[in-house]
């Protein structure tokens, strides 16, 4: 009897291990999917939405499932534009609330992803403070000191807390001198207006939505204090300056030319005692003298 049970135990052991393992794998999969959903949310949604952090461009998603049912949300997520065009009243209301901004169809969204996102929103809505509440930027009025600090951060005079690249590496803005900043990214003079003010700009800075900015700032995110300073600086820039005119590159070339000439003049002065042609001058001088004779 004992021998039999021992044998049967040995027989079921592999199956048992498989079963337990399978359960574990399923548990892992779920965690992985949740993590993917978070990552997707961060990359695609966070620049316009918070969960419990108030309205940005789009509405706060806390309790979205209480406002609309799951199937509506899923349809909307999969193709917001089609939903709006179909004449859905709630979609039209959302558009109105976000001052005409239409939610774009997120790249790479599938019904499965949409489900996961809705799960995520549901789960996060129940938390007291979601990690997607957005960065809490102080609401205090912006001061001249903030503007100055923002300018220093932009120019790279003040290095970022987490070693992010300074703005000037890729962007230009009005009022930073003739040479301007980098030309890789857009001119940021009017970025405050483009991103609809303080809140939108701050959120964007907290979680940049473009692939280029993401790859640069994901490992080195900005601190809230830095964001506030930059917002102050961008606000100031948007109020006072205008974007660089299309003649900007021409200015750059002219400045380069002036610089080159300057360097040549310096060389000429430094090496003023250098050897100059002897024979040709001798002949030229003598020829001139002969003419005057």
């Amino acid at each position: 009897m004992i021998a039999v049970s021992r044998r049967s135990f040995l027989a079921i052991l592999p199956i048992w291990i498989l079963l337990i393992g399978g359960q574990e794998i399923r548990g892992d999969e779920r965690a992985l999917q949740a993590e993917q959903a978070k990552s997707f949310f961060r990359q695609n949604c966070m620049s316009c939405h918070t969960i419990g952090g108030g309205r940005l461009t789009g509405p706060d998603l806390k309790g979205a499932l209480e406002r609309k049912d799951r199937s509506w949300l899923k349809r909307f997520l999969l193709d917001p534009v089609a939903m709006l065009e179909s004449g859905d009243a709630y979609a039209a209301k959302l558009k109105k609330e976000s001052r005409g901004a239409v939610m774009p169809r997120a790249a790479g969204i599938t019904p499965q992803v949409a489900d996961l996102l809705i799960d995520l929103i549901e789960a996060e809505s129940e938390l007291e403070k979601s990690e997607f509440a957005g960065l809490q930027i102080s609401e205090r009025p912006l001061t001249a000191i903030d503007v100055e600090r923002g300018r220093e951060i932009f120019l790279g005079l003040h290095s970022l807390e987490r070693q992010g690249a300074s703005c000037i590496s890729c962007h230009s803005i009005n009022g930073i001198g003739g040479l301007g900043g980098g030309l890789l990214g857009p001119d940021l003079t009017k970025v405050y207006d483009r991103l609809q003010g303080r809140k939108g700009l701050a959120t964007w800075l907290a979680a940049p939505a473009t692939p280029t900015m993401q790859s640069i700032f994901k490992p080195h995110p900005l601190e809230s204090g830095e964001i506030l300073a930059l917002v102050a600086y961008f606000k100031e820039a948007a109020e006072t300056g205008s974007e660089a005119p299309p003649s900007g590159p021409l200015h750059f070339i002219l400045l380069g030319l002036v610089g080159a000439v300057g360097v040549l003049v310096i060389f000429d002065v430094l090496w003023r005692t250098r050897f100059r042609s002897v024979r040709a001058r001798l002949v030229a001088d003598q020829g001139e003298r002969a003419l005057h004779r």
Binding site: T273, R274, F275, V278, R279, V283, A290
Partner: protein, 496 residues
């Protein structure tokens, strides 16, 4: 006393006929390669004239040689501080135009030109660009033109002359010229060696010949600007500097250098000198007026037993000492003091000496007619057509004492020989003149012999090279014999 040997040279300018055979001999042996077209390791200049490269004697422009500041010597062209900021563009580098653009002629056209009314011509073609060109200058552009308005009148040595003297020098029927053949002086204190950032130039221990190591040269061209005689040239094809090598392969085998050997006027003399290397710096720093005397004092008497002992102790081969005792250069420079170094004020201590030329007397003007034939054929040297001031700029650092002495002695020898062979001068006068010139009859006879009646062996006393000993200094000779041939032939190339 650190006794070393140095091959000394002497050119007797009174004998130079300006035929350029020396230049051609040198050109054919050494500088008919690509990149060396413009080089003339040996050239013959007409004086007064600007020379080659144009006005090379004007060191305000060319910045060659040494400069004495306080009691220290500095290179005019560069320094330890200047060499790095100037390394990619040497600010004292003469351009090709200051030498000349070398050319050949389109000889083919003489054969291939289509039939026409005119004789076909061979147009000049640049040897640098290969294009047709207009010749504007050459290495001897004012050859034989003692009074040419552009070149002769801009001779840097004329600066010390008064306007009157200049007018005299250049007035019609007064024109005078002499020739000034030049090779590398193989100086005792060579500025080219001092300036090289790569250490590519060196002075051979056994005979003092200054050479450029073609493997170590890195084309910085500091030597080109540092040499006050402009006798280092840059080969634009190989990217290496080149200079006169005193035909060392010939000298080592007992033959005179090509330019010496081929000299038609037999003006060139060569012989080894012993000198005290420990005093070079002290001598190079001497006051300008004492430089000639100081340099003479550097050359040691090869018959002095103390010198011989020191030389043997210093590794000079007995055969070289023996050769030094026969050296004609020692006689001209030290014994007789009639050979002088060129532009000693550059302080490189050149080891090529010149016997300054005597020139015809100034013509006299009588009733608006110029009489250029003087009754007084052996005139006073003070009234030479070439003003002493002009010659002293070249051979006396501006001080004419030593020059006057040399010319006076030459003149006295002529008086003496006139008395001996022709007899229209009485011996008493001749002896008086000899005495005035600090010369004895025996000395005059010897000067005459070595000047006018000299044979090949008299002029060229070439020291044995003792190459086997040179090898011994570096290697075990038997091992070397078994392991090495003549080395590997590899031409100089650009880069490392």
């Amino acid at each position: 006393m650190d006794v070393r040997s140095q091959i000394g040279m002497m050119f007797h300018l009174d004998k130079c006929i300006g035929c350029h055979t020396c230049s051609i001999a040198c050109k054919n042996i050494w500088t008919d390669r690509r990149g060396t077209e413009y080089m003339w390791w040996n050239n013959v200049e007409t004086k007064p004239g600007t020379g080659y490269p144009t006005q090379w004697e004007d060191q305000e422009k060319y910045r060659g040689g040494w400069e004495k500041d306080g009691n220290d010597l500095y290179l005019k062209s560069t320094s330890k501080k200047q060499i790095v900021p100037n390394i990619f563009h040497n600010p004292a580098q003469p351009s090709m135009d200051d030498y000349y653009e070398p050319w050949t002629y389109d000889y083919q056209n003489l054969f291939t030109a289509p039939e026409g009314n005119d004789q076909p011509t061979a147009r000049p073609i640049s040897m640098v660009t290969g294009e047709y060109m207009d010749i504007e200058a050459g290495p001897n552009w004012d050859d034989d033109l003692g009074g040419s308005p552009i070149y002769a009148r801009n001779d840097p040595n004329l600066k010390s002359l008064t306007p009157e003297q200049r007018l005299q020098l250049f007035s019609v029927e007064q024109l005078v010229l002499y020739y000034f053949p030049r090779i590398c002086n193989h100086c005792l204190n060579p500025a080219c060696v001092a300036s090289c950032p790569s250490g590519a130039l060196y002075k051979r221990g056994e005979d003092g010949i200054v050479l450029v190591d073609q493997k170590r040269c890195r084309a910085w061209r500091s030597c080109v600007s540092a040499c006050p005689y402009k006798k280092v040239y840059f080969n634009w094809f190989t990217g290496k500097s080149e200079k006169c090598i005193l035909c060392f392969p010939r000298v080592e085998t007992g033959q005179a250098p090509a330019c010496f050997h081929s000299c038609v006027g037999r003006i060139r003399y060569l012989g080894v000198l012993l000198y005290d290397a420990s005093r070079i710096e002290e001598v190079a720093r001497a006051d300008e007026k004492d430089l000639i005397e100081a340099q003479r004092s550097l050359i040691l008497d090869p018959n002095d037993p103390r010198v011989i002992d020191a030389a043997l102790a210093g590794g000079v081969h007995p055969s070289v000492i023996e050769s030094a005792q026969q050296s004609p250069i020692y006689k001209f420079v030290v014994d007789w003091k009639i050979a002088l170094p060129p532009h000693i004020e550059y302080r490189t201590l050149p080891m090529l000496f010149y016997v300054p030329p005597l020139s015809p007397v100034i013509a006299t003007r009588k009733d608006d007619r110029l009489n250029s034939v003087s009754d007084d054929f052996f005139h006073d040297i003070e009234s030479s057509r070439v003003p002493l001031k002009f010659l002293s700029g070249l051979f006396g650092a501006g001080h004419d004492g030593k020059l006057r002495y040399a010319l006076k002695k030459q003149k006295a020898v002529r008086w003496y020989r006139r008395a001996v062979t022709v007899g229209d001068v009485d011996m008493e006068t001749a002896e008086k003149i000899l005495q005035q010139a600090d010369c004895t009859k025996e000395e005059a006879e010897e000067i005459y012999r070595l000047t006018a009646m000299c044979s090949f062996e008299d002029r060229f006393v070439i020291p044995p090279a003792n190459r086997e000993e040179a090898i011994e200094m570096l290697k075990e000779p038997f091992e070397h014999k078994q392991s090495a041939g003549f080395g590997f032939l590899s031409g100089p190339r650009r880069g490392l």
